[in-house]
């Protein structure tokens, strides 16, 4: 029981992480994949912050008559990671917008089909030229 | 003593109102009535809960900020509700009595009755 309560957060976080991963694998829509990636990312953030927590601790902002502070280091790492994460997500979204313009679709399967067709045609053209 | 009692009453009433609002949001039959159920209780419950906390904290900088939050919520909630209602009306969401959507069976008979009454 103690084991379960002590590790409860970790188990849920891993479950969430796997949900994000499944979203990336199972949905063929690119935006949905990006959302899955963000869910994965957020669960990693929760994992890190859980590491830093000390049961009787207070937030790492120095005040009088507090002895135990939670670990500030994961907070720093995650704080910057969140902002960087959203910046990279925005680059991904910009790429999706361009892909949609080029292929007319945001669906991974459709894009693969079109790519295969293109390859086939270029190969054919090459063989004709040769 | 009286202040803590008052704060308790505020918190209790606030809790009851949020719960009513949520039940209304879940159970009412169509969009407009759900909007009504959620937003009206919200505008009442938010100040009650925050005032309950303010009575407990006493007069500090925090309670000044809490007043600001009350102002924000009391102004922003009706605005959002208004804009949402307007957008829904423009996009052609109609009250339940006229649609043939049969999502909730138990509410269907009620809407039929109210539909007849309105005719």
């Amino acid at each position: 029981m103690n084991e379960l309560l002590g590790h409860f957060n970790y188990y849920i976080v891993i479950f969430l992480m796997m949900m994000g991963l499944y979203m990336v694998i199972a949905s063929s829509n690119l935006v949905k994949k990006l959302i899955g990636l963000s869910v994965f990312q957020a669960s990693v953030f929760i994992l890190y912050i859980t590491f830093g927590k000390i049961t009787e601790g207070k937030p790492p902002i120095i005040t009088d008559n507090v002895d135990v502070y939670s670990n500030p280091l994961p907070h720093v790492l995650i704080l910057t990671a969140i902002v960087v994460g959203v910046a990279t997500t925005s680059v991904g979204l910009a790429l999706i917008v361009r892909i949609k313009e080029a292929y007319g679709s945001m669906d991974e399967d459709d894009i693969h089909d079109m790519d295969d067709k293109d390859d086939f045609q270029t190969k054919n053209n090459r063989s004709i030229n040769e | 003593m009286i202040i803590s009692l008052l704060s308790d009453i505020c918190l209790l009433l606030g809790g009851i109102f949020t719960l009513t609002g949520a039940i209304g949001l879940l159970r009412l039959p169509d969009f407009y009535s759900r909007l009504h159920g959620a937003s009206v209780t919200e505008s009442l419950a938010a100040p009650l809960l925050i005032v309950g906390i303010m009575l407990d904290t006493g007069l500090t900088l925090d309670s000044a900020k809490l007043v600001l939050i009350i102002v924000i919520m009391v102004v922003s909630n009706p605005t959002i509700t208004h804009a949402l209602c307007r957008a829904a009306a423009h996009s052609g969401v109609t009250p339940k009595m006229e649609t043939k959507n049969t999502k909730e069976k138990q509410s269907q008979s009620e809407t039929e009755i109210s539909g007849k009454e309105s005719k």
Partner: protein, 323 residues
């Protein structure tokens, strides 16, 4: 009672997270999935608050719930197709996910219990940082001290990453050009309500920027909050008018200026024969030098984040109007 409350809130929030993620997998409407991701971030931020990470909660709420939702929505508006996102039930995927999850859970069983004060993570570095902050930097917020001073290199790198992400989006989409035009149907109520709100958001942004040494806050959060004031203006009054207030051409320069402020602060200390980003060189008194260094660096970060965030928003909102 208080401990029980902690536990109840913790368990409820985690359950909400799982439910929201599950719904986001199931729902085929991308618009709804984006909104659900918005509340996912909200709940995650609440959880951070419960786990003592005030600054992280601040950032997650501003960035995750606010800006990234707006960003995804504007991308969806451009791509148009928001419905019937195909979902294939992949058994292989499920197998891989299950296997990875099982491996991770096996790994996790060796972890020390949550909240254990004697866990290896808590014994190194963190107590030193807390002690050194009190002794050498003398600002209450340890997170800001570590962020801007002890790990200044790291933060410099992150700022450059954000700047380059802004440049990448600019290269991919262009900043676009939107003529200010009054839309025929305007919502008067929104206009009147939003105006004081914008002022409030901007003031709050400044407060967060300069209060970061003493409480939750700092450059990253303030930049996003400040930008969201302008985003609100653009949303309600039209993007063309927002571009009149802050022209798109000026933003890349501001972003570069922000990174430059950070870098030059480091160079100044280098010129006076101290290591890069050692703020003791900025003043005769080391402690006030640290204060000044942190202020400058946070200002640089705030400026860079503000202009990058607004630039990305402009890029996404400007594309469609070109055609």
């Amino acid at each position: 009672m208080i401990e029980n409350l902690h536990l109840i809130i913790d368990v409820c929030l985690l359950a909400f997270l799982v439910l929201i993620a599950f719904a986001a997998i199931k729902i085929t409407n991308l618009f709804v999935a984006t909104m659900l991701f918005g509340i996912f971030s909200f709940v995650a931020a609440l959880l951070f608050l419960d786990l003592d990470a005030v600054d992280v909660a601040f950032t997650e709420a501003a960035v995750g719930a606010g800006f990234s939702t707006v960003l995804m929505l504007s991308a969806l508006r451009l791509t148009g197709a928001i419905e019937n996102a195909k979902h294939r039930h992949s058994l292989l995927g499920l197998f891989i996910v299950g296997l990875t999850g099982a491996a991770l859970i096996y790994g996790v069983t060796d972890f020390p219990n949550m909240g254990d004060a004697n866990a290896p993570v808590q014994l190194h570095l963190a107590p030193e940082f807390i002690a050194l902050t009190q002794e050498k930097i003398d600002i209450p917020n340890v997170v800001t001290a570590v962020l801007a001073s002890f790990r200044g290199y790291d933060t410099f790198g992150e700022t450059v990453v954000i700047f380059s992400a802004g440049v990448a989006v600019l290269l991919l989409l262009g900043s676009g050009h939107v003529e200010p035009k009054r839309e025929p149907e305007q919502n008067m109520v929104l206009w009147i309500v939003v105006k004081p709100f914008i002022a409030l958001i901007l003031i709050f942004g400044l407060y967060v920027q300069f209060h970061g040494d003493f409480g939750a806050g700092g450059g990253f959060q303030a930049g996003v909050i400040f930008a969201s004031g302008f985003i609100l203006y653009a949303l309600v009054f039209g993007e063309g008018y927002a571009r009149k207030v802050v022209p798109a051409s000026i933003l890349p320069r501001f972003a570069a200026l922000g990174v430059l402020i950070y870098g030059v602060t480091g160079l100044v200390s280098l010129l006076s024969n101290k290591p890069f980003l050692d703020y003791n060189a900025l003043s005769s008194n080391p402690v006030s030098g640290q204060h000044m260094g942190i202020l400058l660096v946070e200002a640089g970060v705030g400026l860079a984040v503000f202009s990058t965030v607004l630039l990305i928003f402009y890029s996404f909102s400007g594309v469609n109007h070109n055609e």
